[in-house]
């Protein structure tokens, strides 16, 4: 399964995504998560977004 996702067949949606610049390792990781794990991941992403927003608010020229 891992190899079929990371080394997709030519012409497949995965191959098109890879050629577009999508990181297929992230696709693989998401595919292996349960729905609940994906929700927890969203919460982590939102916390990350909040952190970056806070830091962005303090950015200034050195």
């Amino acid at each position: 399964m891992r190899q079929r996702i990371l080394n997709p067949e030519p012409g497949s949606a995965l191959a098109r995504a890879r050629d577009y610049g999508i990181d297929l390792t992230l696709i693989l990781k998401a595919t292996m998560m349960t729905p609940e794990e994906r929700i927890e991941n969203v919460v982590r992403l939102q916390r990350l977004a909040r952190l970056t927003e806070e830091i962005r608010g303090t950015l200034r020229r050195a």
């Binding site: 399964m1 997709p8 992230l26 998401a30 929700i39 927003e53």
Partner: protein
């Protein structure tokens, strides 16, 4: 400060009939897309609008993009008087949509939703197929990358479904 969990849990605890759509749904379906707001499709009944208004009241919702002091009463009538309400709250930005492009009414959105669990509550999340339909219908340049990713996720799940090897 965005706390998506607080907003969503408040709506779920109020038993509001909602489906998570937009960027958070994309993330929930495995996308690496980053978003700063929570998009929610809701059933446009008076009872449901009241549940949503009561659930969100503690977060002091106000119209996004308008002066902070502008009088605004967030209640069921405010929800039912428009198809889209874009709000800022103390827990972050939330968009409430009575209809969704590419899918239409809440009934159709509900049919296109997957089910997951958050802190013991059932949460409905727009499916990959539903997200693809909305992105195709929207047809914006920024949706192209999202479509590639969604179609790859759909294909990867098809590959993963019959086998759990390695």
């Amino acid at each position: 400060m965005l706390d998506f969990r607080d907003l969503l849990l408040a709506l779920l605890q109020a038993e509001a009939r909602i489906v998570v759509i937009g960027g958070v749904a994309l993330q929930m379906q495995g996308s690496a897309y980053m978003t700063a707001d929570l998009d929610i499709a809701y059933e446009r009944s008076r009872e449901n609008a009241m549940r949503i208004a009561i659930a969100l009241a503690p977060f002091a919702p106000r119209m996004r993009g308008f002066p902070v002091g502008l009088p605004f009463s967030f209640d069921a009538q405010a929800l039912l008087s428009t198809e889209i309400l874009t709000l800022s709250t103390t827990a972050g930005d939330i968009d409430l949509l009575g209809e969704v492009i590419g899918l239409g009414s809440f009934t159709n959105v509900l049919k296109a939703a997957d089910v997951a669990t958050l802190d013991g509550y059932t949460v409905r999340v727009l499916s990959i197929d539903g997200l693809i339909r909305t992105k195709r219908a929207a047809g914006r340049p920024k949706d192209v990358a999202g479509l590639h990713e969604l179609e790859a996720l759909r294909e990867a799940r098809t590959i993963a479904a019959p086998s759990t090897e390695d």
